[in-house]
Protein backbone atom coordinates (compact mmCIF):
# COMPACT_ATOMS: atom_id res chain seq x y z
CA UNK A 1 0.00 0.00 0.00
CA UNK A 2 2.85 2.30 0.93
CA UNK A 3 4.55 1.59 -2.39
CA UNK A 4 1.38 2.26 -4.34
CA UNK A 5 0.93 5.59 -2.54
CA UNK A 6 4.56 6.45 -3.24
CA UNK A 7 4.13 5.75 -6.96
CA UNK A 8 0.95 7.79 -7.07
CA UNK A 9 2.74 10.69 -5.46
CA UNK A 10 5.46 10.32 -8.03
CA UNK A 11 2.98 10.53 -10.88
CA UNK A 12 1.46 13.66 -9.48
CA UNK A 13 4.86 15.26 -9.11
CA UNK A 14 5.80 14.57 -12.72
CA UNK A 15 2.49 15.96 -13.95
CA UNK A 16 3.05 19.07 -11.89
CA UNK A 17 6.47 19.51 -13.34
CA UNK A 18 5.21 19.02 -16.87
CA UNK A 19 2.57 21.66 -16.27
CA UNK A 20 5.24 23.92 -14.84
CA UNK A 21 7.45 23.32 -17.85
CA UNK A 22 4.62 24.12 -20.17
CA UNK A 23 4.04 27.44 -18.43
CA UNK A 24 7.73 28.28 -18.40
CA UNK A 25 7.98 27.40 -22.06
CA UNK A 26 5.30 29.94 -22.88
CA UNK A 27 7.17 32.56 -20.89
CA UNK A 28 10.41 31.68 -22.58
CA UNK A 29 8.75 31.92 -25.96
CA UNK A 30 7.67 35.46 -25.13
CA UNK A 31 11.19 36.39 -24.03
CA UNK A 32 12.57 34.95 -27.23
CA UNK A 33 10.06 36.87 -29.31
CA UNK A 34 11.16 40.08 -27.63
CA UNK A 35 14.78 39.27 -28.21
CA UNK A 36 14.04 38.48 -31.84
CA UNK A 37 12.21 41.72 -32.45
CA UNK A 38 15.25 43.66 -31.25
CA UNK A 39 18.14 41.57 -32.44
CA UNK A 40 17.04 39.24 -35.22
CA UNK A 41 18.96 41.33 -37.74
CA UNK A 42 22.11 41.03 -35.69
CA UNK A 43 22.08 37.28 -36.03
CA UNK A 44 21.46 37.41 -39.75
CA UNK A 45 24.10 39.99 -40.51
CA UNK A 46 26.84 39.41 -37.97
CA UNK A 47 28.91 36.22 -38.15
CA UNK A 48 30.64 37.13 -34.86
CA UNK A 49 27.33 37.36 -33.07
CA UNK A 50 26.29 34.01 -34.49
CA UNK A 51 29.42 32.41 -33.06
CA UNK A 52 28.68 33.89 -29.62
CA UNK A 53 25.10 32.73 -29.85
CA UNK A 54 26.05 29.19 -30.82
CA UNK A 55 28.72 28.95 -28.13
CA UNK A 56 26.30 30.09 -25.44
CA UNK A 57 23.70 27.58 -26.56
CA UNK A 58 26.26 24.80 -26.48
CA UNK A 59 27.34 25.79 -22.98
CA UNK A 60 23.87 25.45 -21.54
CA UNK A 61 23.10 22.28 -23.49
CA UNK A 62 20.77 23.58 -26.16
CA UNK A 63 21.00 22.89 -29.88
CA UNK A 64 19.28 25.70 -31.76
CA UNK A 65 19.68 23.83 -35.04
CA UNK A 66 18.22 20.50 -33.97
CA UNK A 67 14.85 21.13 -35.51
CA UNK A 68 13.21 23.61 -37.84
CA UNK A 69 10.29 23.37 -35.45
CA UNK A 70 12.32 24.61 -32.49
CA UNK A 71 11.69 28.08 -31.06
CA UNK A 72 15.15 29.28 -32.02
CA UNK A 73 14.60 28.42 -35.62
CA UNK A 74 11.04 29.69 -35.82
CA UNK A 75 11.64 33.00 -34.10
CA UNK A 76 15.22 33.88 -34.77
CA UNK A 77 15.38 32.36 -38.21
CA UNK A 78 18.72 30.73 -37.38
CA UNK A 79 17.45 27.45 -38.75
CA UNK A 80 16.67 28.58 -42.27
CA UNK A 81 20.06 30.28 -42.52
CA UNK A 82 22.00 27.09 -41.70
CA UNK A 83 19.71 24.59 -43.40
CA UNK A 84 19.87 26.52 -46.66
CA UNK A 85 23.62 26.71 -46.30
CA UNK A 86 23.53 22.92 -45.94
CA UNK A 87 21.85 22.60 -49.31
CA UNK A 88 24.43 24.88 -50.93
CA UNK A 89 27.29 22.93 -49.38
CA UNK A 90 25.90 19.61 -50.63
CA UNK A 91 25.53 21.01 -54.14
CA UNK A 92 29.06 22.37 -54.32
CA UNK A 93 30.57 19.15 -53.00
CA UNK A 94 28.59 17.06 -55.45
CA UNK A 95 29.56 19.24 -58.39
CA UNK A 96 33.27 19.05 -57.60
CA UNK A 97 33.45 15.44 -56.45
CA UNK A 98 34.76 14.09 -59.71
CA UNK A 99 37.68 16.55 -59.53
CA UNK A 100 38.72 16.01 -55.94
CA UNK A 101 37.28 12.64 -54.96
CA UNK A 102 35.01 14.16 -52.30
CA UNK A 103 37.67 16.09 -50.39
CA UNK A 104 37.71 19.88 -50.46
CA UNK A 105 39.42 22.54 -48.38
CA UNK A 106 37.22 24.75 -46.23
CA UNK A 107 38.61 27.75 -48.14
CA UNK A 108 37.62 26.47 -51.53
CA UNK A 109 34.20 25.41 -50.26
CA UNK A 110 33.78 28.89 -48.81
CA UNK A 111 34.70 30.57 -52.11
CA UNK A 112 32.39 28.39 -54.17
CA UNK A 113 29.47 28.75 -51.77
CA UNK A 114 29.86 32.54 -51.74
CA UNK A 115 29.91 32.57 -55.53
CA UNK A 116 26.78 30.47 -55.65
CA UNK A 117 24.97 32.71 -53.19
CA UNK A 118 25.51 35.78 -55.32
CA UNK A 119 26.45 39.33 -54.50
CA UNK A 120 23.39 40.32 -52.53
CA UNK A 121 23.20 37.39 -50.16
CA UNK A 122 24.26 37.59 -46.53
CA UNK A 123 27.87 36.93 -45.87
CA UNK A 124 28.71 33.54 -44.43
CA UNK A 125 31.81 32.78 -42.44
CA UNK A 126 33.85 29.60 -42.30
CA UNK A 127 32.45 29.02 -38.81
CA UNK A 128 28.96 29.04 -40.31
CA UNK A 129 30.00 26.43 -42.86
CA UNK A 130 31.46 24.16 -40.20
CA UNK A 131 28.28 24.29 -38.14
CA UNK A 132 26.12 23.52 -41.15
CA UNK A 133 28.38 20.59 -42.06
CA UNK A 134 28.19 19.16 -38.54
CA UNK A 135 24.43 19.04 -38.93
CA UNK A 136 24.66 17.35 -42.33
CA UNK A 137 26.50 14.38 -40.90
CA UNK A 138 23.26 12.85 -39.73
CA UNK A 139 22.12 12.34 -43.35
CA UNK A 140 24.57 9.48 -43.71
CA UNK A 141 26.39 10.78 -46.75
CA UNK A 142 29.77 10.63 -45.13
CA UNK A 143 30.19 14.30 -44.28
CA UNK A 144 33.24 14.79 -42.15
CA UNK A 145 35.65 17.50 -41.03
CA UNK A 146 39.39 16.75 -41.05
CA UNK A 147 41.82 19.23 -39.45
CA UNK A 148 44.91 19.84 -41.59
CA UNK A 149 47.53 22.57 -41.32
CA UNK A 150 45.74 25.56 -39.89
CA UNK A 151 42.49 24.74 -41.63
CA UNK A 152 40.12 21.88 -42.45
CA UNK A 153 39.42 19.42 -45.24
CA UNK A 154 35.76 18.64 -45.73
CA UNK A 155 34.87 15.09 -46.71
CA UNK A 156 31.56 14.58 -48.47
CA UNK A 157 31.64 10.93 -49.53
CA UNK A 158 31.22 7.80 -47.43
CA UNK A 159 34.84 6.73 -47.82
CA UNK A 160 36.49 5.38 -44.75
CA UNK A 161 39.30 7.66 -43.66
CA UNK A 162 41.05 6.52 -40.52
CA UNK A 163 43.83 8.13 -38.46
CA UNK A 164 46.52 6.96 -40.88
CA UNK A 165 44.81 8.56 -43.85
CA UNK A 166 44.17 11.76 -41.94
CA UNK A 167 47.78 12.09 -40.87
CA UNK A 168 49.02 11.65 -44.45
CA UNK A 169 46.52 14.29 -45.63
CA UNK A 170 47.92 16.66 -43.02
CA UNK A 171 51.43 15.96 -44.24
CA UNK A 172 50.42 16.61 -47.85
CA UNK A 173 48.77 19.91 -46.99
CA UNK A 174 52.03 21.88 -47.04
CA UNK A 175 52.89 21.30 -50.69
CA UNK A 176 49.73 19.76 -52.12
CA UNK A 177 51.48 16.44 -52.60
CA UNK A 178 53.41 13.83 -50.67
CA UNK A 179 55.86 11.03 -51.45
CA UNK A 180 56.57 7.69 -49.84
CA UNK A 181 59.99 8.91 -48.65
CA UNK A 182 58.47 11.95 -46.98
CA UNK A 183 56.01 9.75 -45.13
CA UNK A 184 58.80 7.43 -44.05
CA UNK A 185 61.00 10.22 -42.75
CA UNK A 186 58.29 12.43 -41.17
CA UNK A 187 56.06 9.76 -39.70
CA UNK A 188 58.62 6.98 -39.29
CA UNK A 189 56.41 4.42 -41.01
CA UNK A 190 57.46 1.41 -43.06
CA UNK A 191 57.09 1.64 -46.82
CA UNK A 192 54.24 -0.88 -46.85
CA UNK A 193 52.09 1.15 -44.49
CA UNK A 194 52.72 4.35 -46.45
CA UNK A 195 51.88 2.63 -49.74
CA UNK A 196 48.63 1.20 -48.38
CA UNK A 197 47.41 4.60 -47.28
CA UNK A 198 48.38 6.25 -50.57
CA UNK A 199 46.74 3.50 -52.61
CA UNK A 200 43.52 3.89 -50.65
CA UNK A 201 43.50 7.62 -51.39
CA UNK A 202 44.16 6.88 -55.07
CA UNK A 203 41.30 4.41 -55.23
CA UNK A 204 38.91 6.87 -53.67
CA UNK A 205 39.88 9.44 -56.28
CA UNK A 206 41.20 11.79 -53.60
CA UNK A 207 44.80 11.53 -54.78
CA UNK A 208 46.37 11.56 -58.23
CA UNK A 209 49.63 9.83 -59.09
CA UNK A 210 52.43 11.65 -60.87
CA UNK A 211 54.88 9.01 -62.03
CA UNK A 212 56.86 11.45 -64.13
CA UNK A 213 58.09 13.52 -61.22
CA UNK A 214 61.85 13.76 -60.79
CA UNK A 215 63.03 11.32 -58.18
CA UNK A 216 60.11 9.26 -57.00
CA UNK A 217 56.34 9.24 -57.75
CA UNK A 218 54.37 12.05 -56.18
CA UNK A 219 50.85 11.70 -54.83
CA UNK A 220 48.93 14.94 -55.41
CA UNK A 221 45.69 15.94 -53.71
CA UNK A 222 43.35 17.88 -56.01
CA UNK A 223 41.58 19.19 -52.95
CA UNK A 224 44.73 21.14 -52.18
CA UNK A 225 45.27 22.64 -55.66
CA UNK A 226 44.89 26.36 -55.08
CA UNK A 227 44.47 27.03 -58.80
CA UNK A 228 41.15 25.22 -58.64
CA UNK A 229 39.79 28.01 -56.47
CA UNK A 230 39.35 30.32 -59.41
CA UNK A 231 37.77 27.73 -61.68
CA UNK A 232 34.04 27.96 -62.13
CA UNK A 233 31.80 24.96 -61.72
CA UNK A 234 31.03 23.84 -65.27
CA UNK A 235 27.43 23.31 -66.45
CA UNK A 236 28.06 19.56 -66.61
CA UNK A 237 29.23 19.57 -63.03
CA UNK A 238 26.25 21.65 -61.97
CA UNK A 239 23.93 19.08 -63.53
CA UNK A 240 25.56 16.34 -61.51
CA UNK A 241 24.51 18.30 -58.44
CA UNK A 242 20.91 18.27 -57.29
CA UNK A 243 18.45 19.72 -59.83
Amino acid sequence: LFQAKYKERGTVLAEDQLAQMSKQLDMFKTNLEEFASKHKQEIRKNPEFRVQFQDMCATIGVDPLASGKGFWSEMLGVGDFYYELGVQIIEVCLALKHRNGGLITLEELHQQVLKGRGKFAQDVSQDDLLRAIKKLKVLGNGFGIIPVGGTYLIQSVPAELNMDHTVVLQLAEKKGYVTVSEIRSSLKWETERAKQVLEHLLKEGMAWLDTQAAGEPQYWLPALFTELYSQEITPEEAKEAIP
Binding site: A14, S67, G68, G70, K135, G140
Partner: protein, 386 residues
Protein backbone atom coordinates in the same frame (compact mmCIF):
# COMPACT_ATOMS: atom_id res chain seq x y z
CA UNK B 1 48.10 54.83 -55.32
CA UNK B 2 51.44 56.57 -54.95
CA UNK B 3 51.79 55.29 -51.38
CA UNK B 4 52.44 51.76 -52.65
CA UNK B 5 55.96 50.39 -53.06
CA UNK B 6 57.22 47.40 -55.03
CA UNK B 7 57.92 44.42 -52.82
CA UNK B 8 58.92 40.79 -53.01
CA UNK B 9 55.77 39.90 -51.12
CA UNK B 10 57.69 37.86 -48.61
CA UNK B 11 56.78 38.49 -45.01
CA UNK B 12 59.47 39.96 -42.78
CA UNK B 13 60.65 38.41 -39.56
CA UNK B 14 58.14 39.44 -36.92
CA UNK B 15 55.43 40.12 -39.49
CA UNK B 16 52.44 37.77 -39.46
CA UNK B 17 49.75 37.14 -42.04
CA UNK B 18 46.27 37.98 -40.72
CA UNK B 19 43.93 37.33 -43.64
CA UNK B 20 44.01 37.15 -47.41
CA UNK B 21 41.42 37.46 -50.12
CA UNK B 22 41.47 36.66 -53.83
CA UNK B 23 39.76 38.57 -56.58
CA UNK B 24 40.52 42.08 -55.35
CA UNK B 25 40.90 45.09 -57.63
CA UNK B 26 42.70 48.27 -56.61
CA UNK B 27 41.45 51.70 -57.59
CA UNK B 28 43.27 54.97 -57.30
CA UNK B 29 40.55 57.07 -55.73
CA UNK B 30 37.76 56.99 -58.26
CA UNK B 31 39.90 55.82 -61.17
CA UNK B 32 40.59 52.25 -62.19
CA UNK B 33 44.20 51.21 -62.56
CA UNK B 34 45.80 48.16 -64.15
CA UNK B 35 45.83 46.26 -60.82
CA UNK B 36 42.49 44.65 -61.50
CA UNK B 37 42.80 41.09 -60.30
CA UNK B 38 44.92 40.12 -57.37
CA UNK B 39 45.27 38.54 -54.00
CA UNK B 40 45.08 41.06 -51.17
CA UNK B 41 46.97 40.13 -48.05
CA UNK B 42 46.70 41.78 -44.68
CA UNK B 43 49.62 41.34 -42.33
CA UNK B 44 50.29 42.84 -38.92
CA UNK B 45 52.36 45.53 -40.67
CA UNK B 46 51.25 45.94 -44.28
CA UNK B 47 48.62 45.65 -46.92
CA UNK B 48 50.09 43.59 -49.77
CA UNK B 49 48.59 43.09 -53.24
CA UNK B 50 49.86 40.44 -55.65
CA UNK B 51 48.72 40.12 -59.25
CA UNK B 52 46.96 36.77 -59.78
CA UNK B 53 48.21 36.44 -63.36
CA UNK B 54 51.74 37.70 -62.80
CA UNK B 55 53.06 36.70 -59.40
CA UNK B 56 56.14 38.89 -59.85
CA UNK B 57 53.96 41.97 -59.70
CA UNK B 58 53.60 42.66 -56.02
CA UNK B 59 53.07 45.94 -54.16
CA UNK B 60 52.69 46.83 -50.52
CA UNK B 61 51.51 49.62 -48.30
CA UNK B 62 52.43 50.05 -44.63
CA UNK B 63 49.39 50.03 -42.35
CA UNK B 64 50.81 53.13 -40.66
CA UNK B 65 49.92 55.04 -43.84
CA UNK B 66 46.24 54.43 -43.23
CA UNK B 67 44.22 57.19 -41.61
CA UNK B 68 40.90 55.37 -41.54
CA UNK B 69 38.76 52.97 -43.55
CA UNK B 70 35.14 52.87 -44.71
CA UNK B 71 32.89 50.23 -46.15
CA UNK B 72 31.04 50.77 -49.39
CA UNK B 73 28.18 48.35 -49.95
CA UNK B 74 27.75 46.43 -53.19
CA UNK B 75 25.39 47.75 -55.84
CA UNK B 76 23.94 46.54 -59.12
CA UNK B 77 26.92 45.33 -61.12
CA UNK B 78 29.28 46.72 -58.51
CA UNK B 79 31.27 44.77 -55.94
CA UNK B 80 31.46 45.74 -52.30
CA UNK B 81 34.44 47.97 -51.52
CA UNK B 82 36.60 49.18 -48.71
CA UNK B 83 37.76 52.78 -49.02
CA UNK B 84 41.16 53.35 -47.45
CA UNK B 85 42.09 56.95 -46.62
CA UNK B 86 45.82 57.53 -46.51
CA UNK B 87 48.44 59.89 -45.18
CA UNK B 88 50.54 61.57 -47.87
CA UNK B 89 53.49 59.48 -49.00
CA UNK B 90 56.66 60.08 -47.05
CA UNK B 91 59.64 61.47 -48.91
CA UNK B 92 61.83 58.44 -48.23
CA UNK B 93 59.35 55.88 -49.54
CA UNK B 94 60.70 53.02 -51.67
CA UNK B 95 59.92 53.15 -55.39
CA UNK B 96 56.47 52.04 -56.47
CA UNK B 97 54.19 51.86 -59.49
CA UNK B 98 52.98 55.46 -59.22
CA UNK B 99 55.05 58.58 -58.67
CA UNK B 100 52.09 60.75 -57.82
CA UNK B 101 48.37 60.62 -57.37
CA UNK B 102 45.66 63.26 -57.17
CA UNK B 103 43.75 61.17 -54.61
CA UNK B 104 44.44 60.64 -50.93
CA UNK B 105 42.51 57.41 -50.85
CA UNK B 106 42.32 54.09 -52.61
CA UNK B 107 39.50 51.62 -53.03
CA UNK B 108 39.71 47.89 -52.61
CA UNK B 109 37.06 46.22 -54.74
CA UNK B 110 36.09 42.69 -53.66
CA UNK B 111 34.96 40.92 -56.79
CA UNK B 112 34.84 37.56 -55.07
CA UNK B 113 33.34 38.71 -51.78
CA UNK B 114 35.21 38.54 -48.50
CA UNK B 115 34.98 42.24 -47.76
CA UNK B 116 33.15 41.84 -44.48
CA UNK B 117 35.79 39.58 -42.98
CA UNK B 118 38.61 41.66 -44.44
CA UNK B 119 37.14 44.90 -43.13
CA UNK B 120 36.76 43.40 -39.69
CA UNK B 121 40.36 42.16 -39.64
CA UNK B 122 41.72 45.40 -41.00
CA UNK B 123 39.79 47.39 -38.38
CA UNK B 124 41.22 45.12 -35.71
CA UNK B 125 44.75 45.66 -36.94
CA UNK B 126 44.15 49.40 -37.11
CA UNK B 127 43.03 49.34 -33.47
CA UNK B 128 45.78 47.09 -32.22
CA UNK B 129 48.53 48.80 -34.21
CA UNK B 130 50.77 45.81 -33.83
CA UNK B 131 53.28 47.25 -36.26
CA UNK B 132 54.33 49.73 -33.62
CA UNK B 133 55.21 47.10 -31.06
CA UNK B 134 56.51 44.31 -33.27
CA UNK B 135 59.79 45.28 -34.93
CA UNK B 136 60.55 43.60 -38.25
CA UNK B 137 63.59 42.97 -40.37
CA UNK B 138 63.60 46.34 -41.99
CA UNK B 139 62.43 49.77 -40.90
CA UNK B 140 58.75 50.53 -41.32
CA UNK B 141 57.83 53.72 -43.09
CA UNK B 142 56.28 55.40 -40.07
CA UNK B 143 55.00 58.73 -41.17
CA UNK B 144 56.68 61.26 -38.91
CA UNK B 145 56.60 63.95 -41.55
CA UNK B 146 55.68 67.17 -39.66
CA UNK B 147 53.99 68.65 -42.69
CA UNK B 148 51.74 65.62 -42.92
CA UNK B 149 50.92 66.03 -39.25
CA UNK B 150 49.66 69.55 -39.79
CA UNK B 151 47.49 68.58 -42.74
CA UNK B 152 46.01 65.80 -40.69
CA UNK B 153 44.88 68.13 -37.96
CA UNK B 154 42.86 70.22 -40.36
CA UNK B 155 40.55 68.24 -42.64
CA UNK B 156 40.52 64.71 -41.45
CA UNK B 157 39.76 65.18 -37.78
CA UNK B 158 36.09 65.88 -38.43
CA UNK B 159 35.73 62.70 -40.42
CA UNK B 160 37.57 60.74 -37.75
CA UNK B 161 35.25 62.05 -35.09
CA UNK B 162 32.17 60.99 -37.04
CA UNK B 163 33.66 57.57 -37.53
CA UNK B 164 34.38 57.30 -33.82
CA UNK B 165 30.75 58.12 -33.08
CA UNK B 166 29.56 55.55 -35.58
CA UNK B 167 31.86 52.96 -33.98
CA UNK B 168 30.54 53.78 -30.53
CA UNK B 169 26.96 53.48 -31.74
CA UNK B 170 27.65 50.09 -33.32
CA UNK B 171 29.48 48.98 -30.21
CA UNK B 172 26.54 50.04 -28.10
CA UNK B 173 24.16 48.04 -30.28
CA UNK B 174 26.37 45.00 -30.12
CA UNK B 175 26.85 45.17 -26.38
CA UNK B 176 23.13 45.63 -25.86
CA UNK B 177 22.54 42.60 -28.04
CA UNK B 178 25.05 40.59 -26.05
CA UNK B 179 23.51 41.68 -22.78
CA UNK B 180 20.07 40.67 -23.92
CA UNK B 181 21.48 37.42 -25.25
CA UNK B 182 23.08 36.62 -21.89
CA UNK B 183 19.81 37.23 -20.06
CA UNK B 184 17.96 35.06 -22.54
CA UNK B 185 20.47 32.27 -22.08
CA UNK B 186 20.00 32.39 -18.31
CA UNK B 187 16.32 31.66 -18.81
CA UNK B 188 17.07 28.95 -21.34
CA UNK B 189 19.40 27.36 -18.81
CA UNK B 190 16.54 27.16 -16.31
CA UNK B 191 14.50 25.32 -18.90
CA UNK B 192 17.33 22.84 -19.42
CA UNK B 193 17.58 22.19 -15.66
CA UNK B 194 13.85 21.63 -15.39
CA UNK B 195 13.83 19.23 -18.30
CA UNK B 196 16.68 17.23 -16.76
CA UNK B 197 14.73 16.90 -13.54
CA UNK B 198 11.64 15.69 -15.40
CA UNK B 199 13.73 13.30 -17.47
CA UNK B 200 15.12 11.76 -14.30
CA UNK B 201 11.62 11.28 -12.90
CA UNK B 202 10.58 9.56 -16.08
CA UNK B 203 13.57 7.27 -15.96
CA UNK B 204 12.72 6.23 -12.42
CA UNK B 205 9.10 5.57 -13.21
CA UNK B 206 9.56 3.80 -16.53
CA UNK B 207 6.23 2.18 -17.37
CA UNK B 208 4.18 4.36 -15.05
CA UNK B 209 4.23 7.45 -17.16
CA UNK B 210 1.62 7.70 -19.86
CA UNK B 211 2.43 7.78 -23.52
CA UNK B 212 0.62 11.06 -23.74
CA UNK B 213 2.86 12.68 -21.14
CA UNK B 214 5.93 11.34 -22.88
CA UNK B 215 4.83 12.80 -26.17
CA UNK B 216 4.14 16.16 -24.54
CA UNK B 217 7.55 16.15 -22.91
CA UNK B 218 9.29 15.29 -26.16
CA UNK B 219 7.61 18.14 -27.97
CA UNK B 220 8.74 20.54 -25.24
CA UNK B 221 12.29 19.30 -25.68
CA UNK B 222 11.99 19.74 -29.43
CA UNK B 223 10.89 23.34 -29.04
CA UNK B 224 13.84 24.17 -26.82
CA UNK B 225 16.37 22.18 -28.81
CA UNK B 226 17.25 20.01 -25.82
CA UNK B 227 18.57 16.56 -26.59
CA UNK B 228 16.31 13.74 -25.52
CA UNK B 229 18.18 11.11 -23.53
CA UNK B 230 15.48 9.15 -21.80
CA UNK B 231 12.56 8.45 -24.03
CA UNK B 232 14.55 7.81 -27.19
CA UNK B 233 14.79 4.13 -26.40
CA UNK B 234 11.13 3.71 -25.67
CA UNK B 235 9.35 5.73 -28.31
CA UNK B 236 12.09 7.02 -30.54
CA UNK B 237 12.99 10.66 -31.10
CA UNK B 238 9.88 11.28 -33.15
CA UNK B 239 7.10 13.57 -32.08
CA UNK B 240 3.70 14.45 -33.55
CA UNK B 241 5.53 16.97 -35.67
CA UNK B 242 7.69 14.27 -37.19
CA UNK B 243 4.68 12.09 -37.81
CA UNK B 244 3.00 14.88 -39.74
CA UNK B 245 6.22 15.49 -41.59
CA UNK B 246 6.49 11.82 -42.54
CA UNK B 247 3.03 11.92 -44.06
CA UNK B 248 3.88 15.11 -45.94
CA UNK B 249 7.05 13.58 -47.28
CA UNK B 250 5.18 10.56 -48.56
CA UNK B 251 3.07 12.92 -50.64
CA UNK B 252 5.91 15.14 -51.86
CA UNK B 253 8.36 12.40 -52.75
CA UNK B 254 6.12 9.98 -54.63
CA UNK B 255 6.67 11.50 -58.08
CA UNK B 256 10.36 12.40 -57.72
CA UNK B 257 11.04 8.84 -56.58
CA UNK B 258 9.25 7.37 -59.55
CA UNK B 259 11.27 9.65 -61.82
CA UNK B 260 14.49 8.41 -60.29
CA UNK B 261 13.96 4.70 -60.46
CA UNK B 262 12.32 4.38 -57.05
CA UNK B 263 15.30 5.34 -54.90
CA UNK B 264 16.95 8.55 -53.68
CA UNK B 265 19.71 9.27 -51.20
CA UNK B 266 18.73 11.22 -48.09
CA UNK B 267 20.93 14.16 -49.09
CA UNK B 268 19.07 14.36 -52.40
CA UNK B 269 15.78 14.35 -50.50
CA UNK B 270 17.06 17.05 -48.11
CA UNK B 271 17.97 19.35 -51.00
CA UNK B 272 14.82 18.64 -52.99
CA UNK B 273 12.45 19.26 -50.10
CA UNK B 274 14.19 22.37 -48.79
CA UNK B 275 14.58 23.92 -52.24
CA UNK B 276 10.85 23.42 -52.76
CA UNK B 277 9.96 24.91 -49.38
CA UNK B 278 12.00 28.08 -49.67
CA UNK B 279 11.12 29.04 -46.09
CA UNK B 280 10.70 27.14 -42.82
CA UNK B 281 13.21 24.60 -43.92
CA UNK B 282 13.71 21.18 -42.39
CA UNK B 283 16.75 20.47 -40.34
CA UNK B 284 18.70 17.33 -41.28
CA UNK B 285 17.60 15.80 -38.00
CA UNK B 286 13.95 16.60 -38.70
CA UNK B 287 14.24 14.74 -41.98
CA UNK B 288 15.92 11.70 -40.48
CA UNK B 289 13.46 11.49 -37.57
CA UNK B 290 10.51 11.76 -39.92
CA UNK B 291 11.90 9.12 -42.27
CA UNK B 292 12.43 6.73 -39.37
CA UNK B 293 8.68 6.78 -38.84
CA UNK B 294 7.73 6.04 -42.45
CA UNK B 295 7.59 2.29 -42.08
CA UNK B 296 5.64 2.24 -38.81
CA UNK B 297 3.09 4.63 -40.26
CA UNK B 298 2.57 2.23 -43.14
CA UNK B 299 3.37 4.88 -45.71
CA UNK B 300 4.34 3.94 -49.28
CA UNK B 301 7.97 4.93 -48.71
CA UNK B 302 10.64 3.56 -46.44
CA UNK B 303 14.05 4.45 -45.11
CA UNK B 304 16.88 2.08 -45.82
CA UNK B 305 20.40 2.20 -44.45
CA UNK B 306 23.18 0.52 -46.39
CA UNK B 307 26.22 -1.07 -44.76
CA UNK B 308 28.31 1.94 -45.71
CA UNK B 309 26.00 4.16 -43.68
CA UNK B 310 24.45 5.72 -46.76
CA UNK B 311 20.75 6.39 -46.14
CA UNK B 312 18.14 6.24 -48.87
CA UNK B 313 14.40 6.56 -49.31
CA UNK B 314 12.77 3.85 -51.41
CA UNK B 315 9.28 3.34 -52.70
CA UNK B 316 7.75 0.37 -50.92
CA UNK B 317 7.18 -1.10 -54.34
CA UNK B 318 10.89 -0.73 -55.08
CA UNK B 319 12.81 -3.90 -54.66
CA UNK B 320 16.54 -3.27 -54.58
CA UNK B 321 17.21 -7.00 -54.76
CA UNK B 322 15.33 -7.20 -58.06
CA UNK B 323 17.30 -4.24 -59.35
CA UNK B 324 20.40 -6.21 -58.52
CA UNK B 325 19.36 -8.88 -61.02
CA UNK B 326 19.08 -6.31 -63.78
CA UNK B 327 22.37 -4.76 -62.67
CA UNK B 328 24.00 -8.16 -63.09
CA UNK B 329 22.67 -8.33 -66.63
CA UNK B 330 24.08 -4.90 -67.44
CA UNK B 331 27.49 -5.77 -66.02
CA UNK B 332 27.55 -9.09 -67.88
CA UNK B 333 26.73 -7.40 -71.18
CA UNK B 334 29.69 -5.05 -70.79
CA UNK B 335 32.02 -7.60 -69.29
CA UNK B 336 32.85 -5.41 -66.33
CA UNK B 337 31.87 -1.97 -65.00
CA UNK B 338 32.99 0.59 -62.46
CA UNK B 339 30.43 2.50 -60.37
CA UNK B 340 30.99 5.59 -62.56
CA UNK B 341 30.40 3.66 -65.79
CA UNK B 342 27.36 1.88 -64.42
CA UNK B 343 25.91 5.17 -63.16
CA UNK B 344 26.24 6.78 -66.59
CA UNK B 345 24.72 3.78 -68.39
CA UNK B 346 21.71 3.47 -66.13
CA UNK B 347 21.22 7.17 -65.37
CA UNK B 348 21.71 7.00 -61.62
CA UNK B 349 23.80 9.00 -59.20
CA UNK B 350 27.25 7.51 -58.66
CA UNK B 351 26.58 7.14 -54.96
CA UNK B 352 23.52 4.91 -55.47
CA UNK B 353 25.11 3.05 -58.37
CA UNK B 354 27.96 2.08 -56.11
CA UNK B 355 25.57 0.89 -53.40
CA UNK B 356 23.71 -1.29 -55.88
CA UNK B 357 26.91 -2.89 -57.13
CA UNK B 358 28.07 -3.44 -53.56
CA UNK B 359 24.76 -5.07 -52.72
CA UNK B 360 25.09 -7.31 -55.78
CA UNK B 361 28.52 -8.27 -54.57
CA UNK B 362 27.18 -8.97 -51.09
CA UNK B 363 24.55 -11.22 -52.61
CA UNK B 364 27.26 -13.08 -54.47
CA UNK B 365 26.39 -12.00 -57.99
CA UNK B 366 29.40 -9.80 -58.64
CA UNK B 367 33.11 -9.96 -57.93
CA UNK B 368 35.34 -6.97 -57.40
CA UNK B 369 38.69 -6.07 -58.89
CA UNK B 370 40.13 -3.47 -56.53
CA UNK B 371 43.18 -1.73 -57.96
CA UNK B 372 44.61 1.76 -58.04
CA UNK B 373 42.81 2.21 -61.33
CA UNK B 374 39.53 2.00 -59.53
CA UNK B 375 36.99 -0.46 -58.24
CA UNK B 376 35.64 -2.62 -61.05
CA UNK B 377 32.89 -5.24 -60.82
CA UNK B 378 32.69 -8.51 -62.80
CA UNK B 379 29.99 -11.15 -62.88
CA UNK B 380 30.79 -13.74 -60.27
CA UNK B 381 31.80 -16.70 -62.43
CA UNK B 382 32.76 -18.70 -59.36
CA UNK B 383 29.06 -18.93 -58.59
CA UNK B 384 27.66 -19.53 -62.04
CA UNK B 385 30.33 -21.74 -63.49
CA UNK B 386 31.36 -24.02 -60.68
Amino acid sequence: MDRFAWTSGLLELGETLVVQQRGVRLCDGEEKVKFDSGVLLLSTHRLIWRDQKNHECCIALPLSQIVFIEEQAAGIGKSAKIVVHLHPASSNKEPGPFQSSKYSYIKLSFKEHGQIEFYRRLSEEMTQRRWETMPTGRTIQVNKDPQAGRIRAVGIVGIERKLEEKRKETDKNISEAFEDLSKLMEKAKEMVELSKSIANKIKEKQGDITEDETIRFKSYLLSMGIANPVTRETYGSGTHYHMQLAKQLAGILQTPLEERGGIMSLTEVYCLVNRARGLELLSPEDLVNACKMLESLKLPLRLRIFDSGVMVIELQSHNEEEMVASALETVSEKGSLTADEFAKLVGMSVLLAKERLLLAEKMGHLCRDDSVEGLRFYPNLFMTQS
